[in-house]
């Protein structure tokens, strides 16, 4: 969900881009993080915990806590809260520690 009206802020969006979340095509904007684009599309689960396979999402949103690690273009352990969205990105839920493909 996006903020449509705001009393003091103007959100200047970048260019519209397509990306893939677990194979599903979604829309986002350049300049925003992958996590922001996923949230805008209502996706809040980012990875599965290592032992109990519990869903995990965003927690600190500044690149500290490692709660939001995902697979991006086949690369595991990408902190999607600080990684910027790009056209055509393949973003996938990360299982456990992730695997290098």
């Amino acid at each position: 969900m996006r903020v449509n009206e705001h009393p003091i802020l103007n959100f200047e969006k970048g260019n519209k881009v397509m990306f893939y979340y677990n194979g599903q095509q979604l829309e986002g904007f350049t300049g925003e993080t992958i996590a922001a684009a996923l949230h805008a599309n209502g996706v809040r689960a980012m990875r599965e915990s290592i032992h109990l396979h519990r869903p995990r999402g965003l927690f600190c949103n500044i690149g500290n806590c490692s709660s939001c690690l995902m697979m991006v273009n086949g690369k595991p352990n990408v902190r999607v809260c600080v990684e910027k969205l790009e056209e055509g990105m393949m973003v996938e839920t990360q299982q456990g520690k992730g695997e290098l493909k």
């Binding site: 996006r2 802020l9 999402g57 600190c60 949103n61 500044i62 809260c81």
Partner: protein, 358 residues
């Protein structure tokens, strides 16, 4: 290997001010930040600041950040590396930095660590579900990217940050179902609290969160009352229909690099956790390593800027850069800083600092 006179890690208010002061004395500075922008936490703070007038209260944090960042970028003596994360510090005084998938080695003569803090979590069942966020995280999502974390929010913690972020959520059109606070009285200043109260958000003092509900994401929360001894009162449970739980229960200093450098650390709850022991000049037990801002102890942005100024001045002076009004410059900052920390509001910080300064 890059050589630099003063290396500053962290481009928040503390690091930016340190860079300006050190460069002002003539030192050559390298400022690094892992973000692709400068300003640290300030860039998402749209509210008018708390603090006294000299410290730019009533200015919005976001504007202060812009001004500082512009001044730093204009200064020839400062080299700025963004998207550059300091990964480690080695015995021989080398800082390892990762930028654009490459490693850069930096050997500074003086180091200022101004890495800020990270938000604390809270223990309760299901606190790991997606939908439980730090308050600063939600603030970043909403104020920087214009994206909502969900529809209905429970805010845990009624200090300034909890209350301010609640108000900013309302501004963005997100419903705040309630704010809970474990203490019998809220910690936030009334100027901020009155705004959310006027907007109809209930504040529950002496309340805690018992658990979150949900399978894949947060789908609700149970709160309950605490007695005078901070023990939950059975039978007072209340279920809230929320899909976001926002934790605003404090920050802890980001000090990994200082641990690596072998700085003497002390656990001081008043300053947010483990902090480096330092002298009046903000130098740690490792000569030549200085600290400033939230990394030195969780406080607020005005204090971070003043500590940054002091660390910058001291590091440059220790390099041998002299200016005739050095003492006066320092005294002005010290006076402001002491003013900021005076009175009942500053009591906790004063207590913490008394333990941290050796």
């Amino acid at each position: 290997m890059r050589q630099t006179e003063v290396c500053i890690i962290g481009g928040g208010p503390a690091g930016l001010t340190a860079a300006l002061k050190a460069a002002g004395l003539g030192a050559e500075v390298t400022l690094i930040d892992r973000n692709d922008y400068l300003g640290g936490q300030l860039i998402k703070q749209t509210h008018r600041f708390f603090g006294s007038k000299e410290q730019r209260a009533s200015e919005r944090g976001i504007n202060i950040a812009r001004e500082l960042a512009e001044a730093v970028e204009k200064e020839d003596k400062i080299t700025v590396l963004t998207k550059a994360a300091a990964l480690s510090y080695y015995k021989d005084g080398v800082v390892m930095v990762k930028q654009n998938e490459r490693i850069i080695k930096i050997k500074p003569q003086k180091l200022i660590v101004a890495t800020g803090g990270s938000e604390k979590n809270l223990m309760f069942p299901n606190n790991d579900l997606p939908g439980v966020y730090g308050a600063g995280a939600v603030q970043t999502l909403v104020n920087v990217y214009g994206v909502k974390p969900g529809r209905k929010v429970l805010m845990v913690g009624a200090g300034n940050i909890g209350v301010i972020v609640s108000y900013q959520l309302l501004q963005a059109g997100v419903d705040v179902v309630g704010i809970i606070e474990a203490a019998p009285k809220i910690g936030a200043y009334w100027v901020h609290a009155s705004k959310v109260v006027r907007a109809g958000v209930p504040i529950y003092a002496s309340h805690t969160i018992k658990r979150a509900w949900g399978e894949k994401e947060v789908a609700g929360a149970t709160i309950m009352k605490l007695d005078e001894k901070w023990q939950p009162v059975p039978g007072t449970e209340k279920e809230l229909d929320v899909d976001v739980i926002c934790l605003s229960v404090g920050l802890s200093p980001l000090t990994e690099l200082l641990w690596q450098a072998g700085c003497k650390m002390e656990f001081i709850p008043e300053l947010g956790g483990h902090v480096p022991v330092r002298n009046e000049d903000l130098e740690t037990s490792q000569p030549g390593i200085y600290i400033a801002g939230d990394a030195a102890g969780i406080e607020e942005a005005s204090a971070a800027m003043m500590e940054g100024a002091l660390a910058g001045l001291n590091a440059a002076e220790a390099m041998g850069y002299k200016v005739s009004d050095f003492k006066e410059q320092k005294e002005v900052v010290m006076k402001e800083l002491n003013g900021l920390r005076s009175g009942p509001v500053g009591e906790k910080i004063r207590k913490g600092l008394a333990k941290a300064i050796s």
